[in-house]
Structure formats: C-alpha cells, structure tokens
Subunit: 210 residues, 4 copies
DNA sequence: GATGAATGAGTATTCATTCAT
DNA sequence: GATGAATGAATACTCATTCAT
C-alpha cells in the first residue's frame, strides 16, 4: 500500500521539488511504462518516449543504458513491490480466508495504482518468456505463486476452502481472472476497483449457481 | 467442432483436397500463426516465416499482400469460426446452464485446437486495439459477448444463475479466466483440456468456500 | 505516312484476324508503350503491362526477352520509321522552304499518330542517354538532325531562310518547340494537329513582332 | 536574380552563414537535385545520394522525411523563386516587348543557374502529373503561365506583337523551345546562355524567312 | 544534461526474371 | 502460349545506439 511504484513516483515527479535527480528518472520511466503498456514494448520507439519527455532520443541514454534497461527497471520495481506487499498480507496472521481476500483486494488496488506495469506484465509475455534477460520476472512470479498457494493450501487444510479443487488450478484461475481486468479496467470509469473486487469475491466465494 | 480453423487446415494441407493453391496458403498461415503467437507479431519478421517455410522472404508476397494481411487472415478465420460455433451452441435449445457449460467446454476445445490463434487474440491486444485495420476483431468480440450475455441473462431470469451478480462482470470474469489458460495450457501436458474445463466448471458453479 | 508504327499496329491487333502471331507482339508493345509513356518506364512494372494484357507477368517473357527489350523495340520501330519518312520528304525535290514545312507537318502527324513513342523519346532522356543499350537512339537522332540541317543550310544558301541565324541552334529551336507539344497535345482535343502545325509555321516563318 | 535557389545555396553552403543546420540540408539537396536530374528521380537511389554525400543512406532520414520530401523541397524552392522573379519582371513597368524579352532572358539565366531543378521540372513530368503530392508544381506552372499570357496579350493589345497568333499557343511555343534547351545547354560549353538567348530572340522576333 | 549528426544492422516490400508443369 | 511458384537482388525506410560538441 505504501508503495514506491514507478507510476506513483512519476506523479510526484512532476512537482520537480522532491528527489532532484531521481525524480527525472522516475518521470521518464513513467512515460515509458505508459507507452510500453498501451502501444506495446516493441511498437514503442525510444524516440516516442523522448518526444513525450520533450528531449531528443539520444539524451535518454544519459539516464538509461538502453531501452531494455527501462523495461527491466519498470518490471523489477513492480515485481519487487508486489512481492513485499503480498508477503506482508500473507504473514499478517489472519485466517486463510481473510488472507485470500486481502490478496485479492491488493491485486485490484495494484491494478488501480500501477495499471501500466500490470499491463506490461500481462501483455508482454511473449517477450518476457523469450528474452533471457527477463528471467527474473518469471522467478518473481514463482515466488508470488508460492505465497498464494500457501494461503490456498492452508485454507483447504483448515476447512476454509473446498478440498476437492486442485490448488494449482485454483490459483491460476483466480490470478488470470483478476489480472486480466487490467485490460478493461479504467481508474476513472464507472466501476471502481473496490466494486469490482467485491463482485469478483462474491463469485469466487459462492459460485454462479443459484 | 466442425471447424476449418487455420491450424487444423494447415495440418491437413497436404491432402490437396481443397485446391492446390489454398493449401499452400494455409500452410504458410499456420507457420505464421505459430510464430506470431510465440514470439509476438512485431518480433516475428517476414524472413522468420519464410525461413521456416523454406522459401525466400520475398516469395511470401506471392501469396499474401503483406505481413499484416497474414495476421488479418488468421484472425478473421478464427473470429469467424468462433462466432459460428458459439451461436450454434447458444441456439441449440438447451437450458441456460447447459448452454453456458457448452460455451465453456467449447472455449477449452478451441484453445486445444487452435492455441496460436487464441494466443494471438490474447496477447496482441495493444496492436489489435491501436491499428484501425483490426477493428473487425473488436467488432467480432462484441458479437461473441452478446451471445454469452444472452445466455447469462436468460439463466438469471430462469433462476439457473444467481441474480445478484452483474452479468457483464460475470462474463468478463469467466472469459478472462478461461482464455488466459492459453498461456500455460499445453496440448501434450499433464492436464487435458477436458480436465481443466471440468475443474473450472466446478469452481464456477459452486465457488471456493467449503 | 503509311507507317507500321507500333501504336497503329496495335489498333489493328485487336481485330485478331490479321498477322496472327506478330499482332500479339504488337498488341503487347502498344500496351507497354502507352504505360511507359504515361507513367514512365521505370515506374511501369512488367506486371502492370501483363495485367493490362490480361496475362501473368511471367508470360510476357514468351514474347519478349526483357522489359528493356520492349522499350528497345518500341524505340527502334519509331526511330526507323521516322528516319525513313523524313528522308523521303527531304529528297522529294521541293524547295528548302517546302521541305522544311513538310518536315514540320510530318512531325505533328507523327505526334498525332504515335504519341506514346514520341513521349517516350521526349521524357526518358535520362534513361536513354545513360544506358549504353540505347545508344542507337542517339545515333538515329543524329541522322535525323543531319536531314534537317541539310534542308536548313540549303535554304540559307538559296536565300529562302535568313542567313544570320545559326543553323544548329535553329534546328534545336524548331525541334524542341515541336516535339514538346506531345506533352499537351490531345488527339481528341480542341486543337487538331493540322491547326497547331499551321500556327507554329506562322510563328516560325514571320516571327512574333507586328 | 537575387535568387536563393538550392543549387546556388548549396555552393555557398559551407559558409555557415544561414545557420549551421540548414547548410547541410542545402548541401544534400544540391546533391540530390543533380542526381535526380541526370539519372532520373526513380533511377536515383537514396543510397546513391548518401554515398555522394559521404554518409550512410539511413542518415539521410535525419535530415529529410523521405526521398519524395527531398524532391518536393527542391521543386518548391524552384517554383517559388521562379514565380517571384517573373512577377518582378512583368511588373517592372516596361513595354510588353521589353517584358517578354526580360522573361526570356530570365529563363535562360535560370537554366544557367539551376540547371538541375529545371531539368527535373522538364523530365519528370510523368511523375509530377501522376503523383498527387506534386500537384503544387502544376499549380505554380499555371501561375507562371498567367504572367506570360498577361504580357503576350498586353503586347497584342498595344500593337507590339502580331494579333493573328493564338496567345496560348504562342506561350507554349516559346516556353517549350526555351526550357528544352536545358537538355543540351552546358554552362561551360561553347555557347553561353546570353548568346543562346540572343539567337532565340532573333528567331522569335523576326522569324525564319528571309 | 542535452543536442544533432551519424551509424549499422535490420525490416517489409518490390520487381524483373526463371522455370517446371 | 500461359500458369504459378519461386528467386535474388535491390529499395526505401526504421531505429536503438553512439559520440563529439
């Protein structure tokens, strides 16, 4: 919740008061994240980013070693924060059911707060799984999975959740349903993230049938 | 079921039954679909496709007007067949619950049968929503949505499904959970599509809570 | 006058009765000449010509060895006929003034009859002077010049024409003014070639001043 | 006379007076103009130009958006300057005959000064009339024609020129005879542009007949 | 920090031409 | 005579990146 994810930092970055040098980086990263997310990483040119930032493309290389380095930084930030947050939630000493709900609420908050990073993570799977430089993303994903699976299995053991469901499939089911909302969720749309979360929890808890 | 989706056609391409010329096209489209899906459309070069097909890149233009035209044909094929199939299912005169289950089974079958087309549809959203040439994909998506929503609403009216859930959100929830499986589902893996479908239906029907 | 220039032959070619095999060649050459002239030689593709002829581009090579061979044949035809005609006129035993008028009338007739060949000769000078294969065009041009210069010089010697003008410059002046009309002359336009010829002769004979 | 046509500017390009950046542009445009004029626009490759400039072909795109943009700039420069000059001459308050002579001298000077631009204008008519992007050239040509026609008609009205000649045809006659000289005129040849102009004026004024 | 000019490797596409059928 | 598939070389253009100023 108290996150320093790039999109948030970027908003602060425009004040041009706090953080001097690093705010410029964050600003540029925020621009890059948005463009990477909306146009796709490889459809976004370094010049696109520079144009949006009001500088020349060559000047970007004073801040980042390469285009790929920008994406790496965005994703590393994102995955790192995500992992910290969900670990905090899982270790908060609640019941498995409360923990699961907490993870789910957190996911929707994350989508609300840093939609571009989430979209990147969702849409660039081809790039992320192909390029060895992005193996760390996959690794972090496995760590995330471990936390969720822990909660699910504990919940089955304690009788919170149905025991006839495969935990791995259950995790993927929930994960995919939730993270996919980034594609249509609009922070300023009719449905607020809290509302969507509540509805999704309803479905997950009780199912569709009357 | 009686589908002529590109991947299927390609496999049967050597039969020379549907006309000499078109089998070559289907062959090339199948190659393109796989590469587009696994590396991403813009990461796949025309030369990649041609290499895989054993011809020179320029020769591809004897069969297709452009790289984009290949993607268009793949997606048009896919969306067209999908729409036909789900309409057949929805109009088969079953109960809404049976219809919904049918739609879901069909989705998993589709993922099993033409994984590359599905992956393309899932992963290239940036391209598909940005480029005006691909507006037809969005249009077809809306048609698909209409069919699903029809089933869901009828089910709520007839008391099959819970009435306190928003049908639009419910559709997205199901759709995203299912189609996302294309990212990890392996046709030759441990879990067969039928198994996954059954588990997902379990969760959807009754929810997670014990 | 009784010329066998390609454009004329082409018109006969559509009858598909006379000349069997050679009429097909002429037909194709006529198509090529028109396209070369209107779009430019290098802007015209072999496929353009084939499309217009209703065959595939590869099939053109049954008739001609290459695209360049088509242009060569068109120009060789044209230059050959032109040379024959103007020699006939120059040797017809008239006064130099009558001969000059005859040459001029003939030029306008040629433009009227085979506009595309003339346009080619006018517009493709860059290609014609650069490519060694087209040296024959330049050679024929010199032969044409010789005939005109002969008439002009004889006219000066016999007192028909002013002696204070440089014959070489005079020739170029007349030649360029006349042949350039191919760019705006329309066989079916308001001004018929005979009319234009008469007006140009008026100017050439008496000048502009009142 | 006080012209800033591209060829001229290019020669002075190293002065670094009109601003560093623009002199490089002018240099490159001068190279392009010469090559376009001598080999033809479509026979000239971007690499040809870059080679001549001593840079890589891709680097040209740092200065110009496209090959076509280079031609556009060359022609726009040329037509703009030409129009300014002939309007100055026509409005200088001389007799129509003096004005006409002035226009003609100016034409020869232009050919002498910027032969490549003139040649382009003369030789690329197929391209210029086909491609819609070059419609501005045709428009400027009509403006030029208006100025010349004004002088000719006024001259007929005031009795300077013969009244029995069609002004439109007279204009084309003069225009074509003069501009065509760009094909054979050599700035360093035996005949200087002034000499050619004088001879052409002689013919135009008094005609050929003795 | 930023500019502007350039690199160099690639990228889709074009097109004259060939040739087995 | 014609087809249709393919070649191979070229073509305009793109773009991440470098670097002297």
């Amino acid at each position: 919740m108290a996150s320093s994810n790039n999109e948030a930092t970027a908003r602060a970055g425009r004040r041009r008061s706090t953080g001097a040098g690093s705010s410029r980086r964050a600003q540029l990263l925020a621009i890059a994240a948005e463009m990477f997310a909306t146009r796709g990483y490889s459809q976004t040119t370094v010049r696109d980013i520079a144009d949006e930032a009001g500088i020349l493309s060559g000047s970007l290389y004073h801040h980042f070693a390469s285009k790929e380095a920008m994406l790496t930084e965005i994703l590393r930030d994102f995955m790192g924060n995500l992992l910290t947050e969900i670990r905090d939630i899982a270790e908060a000493g609640q019941t498995p059911r409360e923990a699961l709900d907490g993870l789910i609420y957190n996911s929707f908050e994350t989508i609300h707060r840093v939609p571009f990073a989430v979209a990147l993570y969702q849409n660039e799977s081809a790039l992320l799984t192909t390029t060895p430089e992005f193996a760390f993303v996959h690794k972090a994903s496995l760590d995330v999975e471990k936390v969720w699976l822990g909660v699910l299995k504990q919940g089955q053991a304690e009788g919170d959740f149905r025991a006839d469901l495969d935990p791995g499939l259950t995790y993927r089911f929930i994960r995919d349903a939730i993270w996919s909302t980034v594609r249509w969720y609009s922070p300023r749309g009719r449905l607020q993230h809290r509302t969507v979360a509540d509805q999704y929890l309803e479905m997950l808890h009780g199912g569709l049938l009357a």
